[in-house]
């Protein structure tokens, strides 16, 4: 089946690697709810764009799903209380980021009642206008749950305006270890299908495709059953990393390639994750904002790996504790998948909307070989799903020649890590690219700053000159007045 479909599929994916899935660790147990932790730490910035604006004060009582941080701009998302209780603190708290730097966070102390806000929902969600659905999705704080965390309402509105034809729901889940989307599709297929139809309606898409990798037969069967007669088509795609990259998924399902530095809307396609579809359905059908998500807890250092329904703001520590604790000291804690996830400095960081997995990996699982010189075998070139030359780019970056790396397409690199994965010399290629991207961003910032400084200095000089002129003018007038007064005296 696998070989057959990949040989005769009309469209083939470029590049890619086949890492060991290790999904069997966590795929069997059904999704469990995480016992409500004593405290929830909700960061104001959990999405791409402007951070949310605080709308509560310390001591406020909040209901589950109540707005605690309002959307902070055109590209932003609100945050809601993940449980009913009291706002215990507002301040800096470590963020789930490799640096572990603090970020503005609201601490909620749950009271254990789990009282929801009064929902405002219509009997038939399809009686709402597409604009209204997009507005409600935005108000529910829904962002891309596949990990990109781009505000979903912005995508819906953009797609409707640019006129898309196809909605692709990404059930690829190509990262090793992660099984949250798989479990979600197995257990909540009907809800996901309804969410897909709502998204398609709001975005004005006629065609609805769901791409699922062929290593998830149970999910495929469940989704097929739920989708029967709804117009939602389930498509099986070969298991390969990075199949879950939206542009790869588009190419495999439609045969169209998204242009470099372009958006999928340009070729009439909108891509959303299956978990996002579920969240949209919860928001539109039940009026429940995004306050929890399914997180895979896995890795050889975890006693009982599985999938947990986690309130936003629960600490990584709470998740590990609910999974039976740690069997051994992990060498690395990762938020997300092992290929593109972020390394966490410690377990004292909250789960955010984009957290798909929490992995506690042993030294045996990660392997820490030391890098050797490049032998120019070009394995990385074959693995790159974008069609770049990782070895050349890394060599230029190493020699501090960033513009040459940009010329080779550094800005198109998606940081998937396929090149680092296959490199026989264990060169940290993707680390070079992430470093170079950060460096380029700070150079751009410095340039903008320099322009702004020049403007400031110019306005100041202008003002100073004006002040001098005004003083001279005033002095002249005073002298003239004095002279006139003296003349008058003389005459008198």
């Amino acid at each position: 089946m696998n070989l057959f479909s990949s040989l005769f599929s009309p469209f083939r994916a470029r590049g890619g690697v086949h890492p060991d899935g290790r999904k069997d660790l966590s795929v069997e147990p059904p999704i469990r709810a995480l016992p409500m932790p004593e405290r929830l730490f909700v960061p104001l910035q959990q999405h791409v764009g402007a951070p949310a604006r605080l709308s509560v004060v310390v001591g406020d009582r909040v209901l589950k799903g109540q707005l605690i941080g309002a959307s902070g701009g055109n590209i932003s998302a609100p945050v809601h209380a993940p449980s009913s209780g009291r706002v215990a603190a507002i301040g800096d708290f470590p963020s789930p980021h490799p640096s572990g730097l603090p970020t503005a966070t609201i601490t909620v102390e749950p009271d254990g009642d789990e009282r929801w806000i009064e929902p405002d929902v219509p009997d038939d969600p399809f009686s709402l206008s597409p604009e209204e659905i997009a507005t409600r999705v935005g108000a529910a704080g829904i962002v891309g749950l596949g990990g990109a965390t781009f505000p979903s309402a912005v995508k819906l509105n953009l797609s409707r305006k640019s006129g898309i034809s196809t909605l692709i729901i990404n059930g690829g889940e190509c990262e090793p270890y992660l099984t949250c989307d798989d479990r979600l599709m197995r257990e909540r297929a009907a809800g996901i299908v309804e969410g897909i139809r709502l998204i398609a309606y709001a975005a004005g898409a006629a065609e609805m495709l769901v791409g699922i990798e062929d290593n998830k037969p149970e999910a495929i069967a469940a989704m097929r059953q739920a989708a029967a007669g709804t117009g939602v088509q389930i498509r099986v795609v070969p298991a390969m990393y990075p199949m879950g990259w939206d542009k790869q998924m588009i190419q495999v399902l439609t045969g169209k390639e998204v242009p470099a530095e372009g958006r999928s809307a340009e070729i009439g396609v909108l891509v959303h994750n299956v978990a996002t579809a579920w969240a949209v359905r919860e928001a539109i059908r039940f009026g429940r904002p995004l306050v929890s998500r399914v997180v895979t807890v896995s890795g050889a250092a975890v006693v009982a790996p599985g999938n947990l329904e986690v309130p936003i703001g629960a600490l990584a520590y709470d998740l590990i504790k609910a999974s039976g604790g740690l069997a051994s000291d992990p060498r690395r804690i990762v938020l997300g998948g092992p290929m593109m996830g972020t390394q966490l400095p410690h377990l004292n960081v909250p789960m955010v909307k984009g957290a798909s997995g929490l992995l506690a990996l042993t030294g045996k699982e990660i392997g820490l070989p030391s890098p050797a010189p490049c032998i120019r075998c070009s394995s990385c070139v074959r693995a790159c799903p974008v069609g770049l030359l990782p070895l050349e780019m890394a060599a230029h970056i190493r020699a501090a020649d960033l513009s040459a790396a940009v010329g080779l397409g550094l800005k198109d690199c998606i940081g998937c890590g396929s090149c680092s994965y296959v490199c026989p010399a264990h060169i940290p290629l993707v680390h070079f690219f992430n470093y170079a991207k950060g460096e380029l961003a700070s150079l751009d910032k410095a340039k903008l700053r320099q322009e702004a400084t020049k403007k400031l200095a110019d306005t100041r000089n202008e003002r100073m000159q004006r002040i001098v002129l005004e003083r001279e003018e005033a002095a002249r007038q005073r002298a003239a007045k004095k002279a006139a007064a003296a003349k008058e005296k003389e005459l008198a």
């Binding site: 963020s95 730097l101 190493r398 470093y435 702004a452 400084t453």
Partner: protein, 179 residues
């Protein structure tokens, strides 16, 4: 042989005359290089290079009277750009890449004398008489003028604090694999 000598002399002579005429006729007024160099410099007129503002420094650079490493607030970036513009070889590793800095007013020492905000070339300090002054981080270029004029040593330069927005990955260090 005489024909060859004659024709080449004639050719050289006439071309020389033409070039001499063109050089006079198409002469560019002023030095455009000065303006280009000025565009590279930070433009905050801080005077740390010893020249009266960035325009003076640009003229000295164009005339070859000043080293490309003269601008402390510009850092390594400006040195590299200047070296490329002027065609000068420079060893960047010897240029001390100053950690980006920013001015800070220590509130417990500030007496509200207003000297620093009058000295600031980019209006980055806000304050009024007998009020504690504050620094706009976005506008400060760390030129240090406020530090020089402060009578109570309340202003100082500190490294720019790292935030989630400004954090980025460090350059990977490749160790030589053991032979």
């Amino acid at each position: 042989m005489f024909i060859a000598i004659f024709s080449l002399t004639l050719l050289g002579g006439s071309l020389g005359l033409f070039l001499g005429y063109a050089a006079r006729r198409l002469k560019v007024e002023g030095n455009p290089l000065v303006e280009e160099i000025q565009a590279i410099l930070p433009g905050s007129q801080c005077g740390q290079c010893g020249f009266p503002g960035c325009a003076g420094a640009a003229q000295a650079l164009a005339a070859g009277e000043a080293p490309v490493t003269l601008c402390p607030p510009g850092g390594r970036e400006v040195v590299a750009l200047l070296a490329a513009k002027l065609g000068v070889e420079v060893n960047l590793s010897e240029v001390k890449d100053a950690v980006p800095q920013i001015a800070e007013v220590q509130e417990e020492l500030c007496i509200g004398c207003t000297k620093c905000y009058k000295a600031c070339p980019t209006d980055a300090i806000m304050g009024a008489a007998k009020q504690i002054h504050a620094v706009f981080r976005e506008a400060c270029t760390a030129c240090g003028k406020c530090v020089d004029v402060c009578p109570t040593e309340a202003t100082r330069l500190i490294p720019v604090p790292v935030t989630l927005q400004s954090w980025s990955w460090s350059k990977p260090i490749l160790e030589r694999a053991a032979a």
